[in-house]
Symmetry: C2
Subunit: 585 residues, 2 copies
Amino acid sequence: MASSEPLRVWAPRAKRVDLVLFPSEERVHCRPAPGGWFVAERAVLEPEQKYAFSLDGGPPLPDPRSADQPEGVHGPSRRVDFERFSWSDAEYGPVPLERAVIYELHVGTFTEAGTFDGVLAELPRLRALGITHIELMPVASFPGERGWGYDGVSLFAPQASYGGPYGLMRLVDACHREGIGVIVDVVYNHLGPSGNYLGHFGPYFTGRYHTPWGDALNFDGPGSDEVRRFVLDNARFWLEKYHVDGLRLDAVQTIFDQSPEHLLATLSREVAEFARASGRPLFLIGECDLNAARFITERPRGYGLDAQWSDDFHYALHAALTGERAGYYQDFGPLRPLARALTQGYALQGEFSRYRQRGQGAPPGNQPGRRFVVYSQNHDQVGNRPRGDRLTALVSEAKCTIAAGLTLLSPFTPMLFMGEEWGAPSPFHYFIDHAEPELRDAVRSGRQREMSEFGWENPETLDPSSEDAFHRSKLNACLAETDAAKRTFERYRSLIALRRKHPELQSDELKKVRAEFDEDERWLVLWRGRVGLLCNFSERPVSLRLPAFRPLFGEENLQDRGALTLLLPGLAVIEASRKKRSARR
Amino acid sequence: MASSEPLRVWAPRAKRVDLVLFPSEERVHCRPAPGGWFVAERAVLEPEQKYAFSLDGGPPLPDPRSADQPEGVHGPSRRVDFERFSWSDAEYGPVPLERAVIYELHVGTFTEAGTFDGVLAELPRLRALGITHIELMPVASFPGERGWGYDGVSLFAPQASYGGPYGLMRLVDACHREGIGVIVDVVYNHLGPSGNYLGHFGPYFTGRYHTPWGDALNFDGPGSDEVRRFVLDNARFWLEKYHVDGLRLDAVQTIFDQSPEHLLATLSREVAEFARASGRPLFLIGECDLNAARFITERPRGYGLDAQWSDDFHYALHAALTGERAGYYQDFGPLRPLARALTQGYALQGEFSRYRQRGQGAPPGNQPGRRFVVYSQNHDQVGNRPRGDRLTALVSEAKCTIAAGLTLLSPFTPMLFMGEEWGAPSPFHYFIDHAEPELRDAVRSGRQREMSEFGWENPETLDPSSEDAFHRSKLNACLAETDAAKRTFERYRSLIALRRKHPELQSDELKKVRAEFDEDERWLVLWRGRVGLLCNFSERPVSLRLPAFRPLFGEENLQDRGALTLLLPGLAVIEASRKKRSARR
């Protein structure tokens, strides 16, 4: 919205709407317009002037489409003059999803500053690492100074404590100048409980569907046309106004919609149209725990998302590496589900899941590998552990290298979690900063309960409202300068470089991928054409029968034993002289 | 289930399950079996012996899969020996949906007896009328002696007050001998509030989704594999054990399911497999108010139902005939939406609906006409009026004939509501027979509220719990013998015969159907090839320019005026000598 246009707000149940100007608190009557809209035609706002809306004479409330909440989610709104920012990213050549290596980061804990600007200094390092996109955990305004962001409530306003709108523009611009794309994590299934004023304005929510986090958004009931538009416009807003290259959609299985065209299909259609019109390879990645391929299947048969997170890859890999069997890991552990995840995207394809107490998923059909975003860890699977501990705290360096190799050389779209690339020892805790004591209590006890139900043996965890939970989660950049950290970084860098360069690793056709494994000896080989990822999950060497090969990575883990090759615990990557049918002795 | 097999029950949360035998009330311990099942291996039941299940020492509860509830929904269960019934319908040649003319009836009010057996005497009359299928409003056991059946709770047990299992077998068998198929209305979106013991046995319900009538069935949460199986087996049960030819699925838009394959798709797949295996043209018809074609689109893109009810056809026709604009009729009235419904199935295809306060529907795509079941009235749109009054009570005979003609000669699957074919004057009220006073009060006040919200001017209605509401709804067969009733019957009979015989009316390709209309003069012509349905909705004659023609029906409404033809109020059907581009003067 150009700042010369009058402010408008949708408030279909209001009889009267006033624009409230700050600091004077002058009220300007808004003209009713068709469809439940109100237009502040007579108001003249100074640049930077704060405002709010009053419904039927009530208190001032932030604009549902506020572009800026400088005083936080409970305070007044402010317009943003997007024309004011001079972009310098015209030369940026965006990387499409099939060549992406994603790096998930949380702005508040990625650097000591905890701001968008704080990220800038790290970009050369990320570029050297070889990542193509950073993925920002949600940046839409959430309550307080710190939080993961999934309880955001002002969906168009970048978090003030991160640096607000201009901070985000500077970050995206700087990323693009470094040749790095930006993905933003957006939450369209629910809103947070604090500072959520949308319900005062209109039927944004419905009681017909429930998410684990509260009422679902109303995408198919009375008034839903405008609620759908609100979300569709929000997605377009990030892509257009902030030059963002892709969106990660939180928990799409809780976006409930019985409409003829599911909201996600409408969204993917509109984003595809905008991508075509703007010549940019924009993409949408859904988080989804259903193993249901309709989300990533082309429209109109499916919803047309470009990719989805593959939790099964993580579950199978983590359980195989750690031996953990609590909660969602109880359906995993052997190498067989890992082999299936590595070759097909979903490990569970209809089998009964003890964790879910029902059949889980269905075969994904003929999907290209890029449609599955894979990771050995992410914010959730680290942060939802009682101690927020990373894989490095749980298993040997050899096993961490298997995790890195299978992720980065997979036929899928790999994603790293911030700090993973140098073995950061800091935990990643869950943290919030709600003002309301009852919400703080509810979150604390809710998480304790969840962790007990999950089956963690000792679910004692930091109070999410404590500053400690936040501060301990910060990456400690000076630790990245240790020799061990540098070795780890170099390992990640060389794996990414190998992914980029080796011809056998360019195709994401899953039918060219094959896995073989031995449950007893605990080894697994993932073949991508002639390239073999040799993984020894055990604590002792195993013998493999391999064709003539050239080592590509981890040569030190291979020992020639004549007809056999000894693989030490950990990872080696080879290029075989011919396609190999079996590495079994 | 053959009666020699041991009784089994799914009770995944129970520690102990006992079979309770009546009248001794002897308890027999059931053996736990995998998946939360319990098997009464040691119990020997006499034929006709009643039984129940006790969970963890609790009171006896009816079997969730009870085949017979001889004492009603709260009483004990009884097995049915399906082998005992000797079927005599081997010669029946089932009529596929594309040649169906359906007749919806409510067993309790169709005859004075109000039983399955009571229907038998009417079958010759229905056969003479030309209908191909009767559709029974729900027959699964519901509380008390009378009810529409949508609050059924024992989904495998035909209502005792209708005559129970053997009564239904006798009815289907007799229908088949008369060459008439049977469709049964089944409710898989919720269960009634009284006598619903399923929740004691397992997680049949979920709080994640709400229907307007209560908690939704759990088709995708923990434990849902068995709940899906319960419903899938129920559908198969009617088709296999009772020789039923098709199912009408109540309110499918409230069957909520996020699974990879929607329950309805699984159901249509299994029914199609059973139809192939048994060589019978079984079909599924969904009631759906979304105008969303996925329900009737082939799998895997859609859910693969064979047809859906087209409420838009009714709304558009009823509003055009009566001038009513309350509730769902407010989106209709002009001839344009009627013309669209007549040619495309859905009248609203994305347009904003004032009634629903959102855009409604989407274009149906290229569907054959048989996929839309059309009616000028059905149990809902008569019974949900404050006085339960039928179309005959609202408009002239001429207009009723338009309704009959457009329904029966449409390119869709026509359906009549019992008594319509002879102009029955009896209303059709809403009635229940709940034992619980609080439920009776809730239903009464709920309906009063709904009717007020709907916008009826005088929503005074009979108490649904009163015997009056039931008895006044009974068809009074002796009135069918009046001359007027016989004339009406003859009109319906001849329209159905015309539908059957005329070559131009055999195809249900909608692209061969064309409508033209004049909103000011209130006439509409529906062309099916060279056959024209000339409808004058006004109170005075209108002039049409027609090619040479042969009258097929309603010749008395046509007067030759040289180049023009005068059409009196009402309906005439003609066969034109050539395809006509326009009937405008």
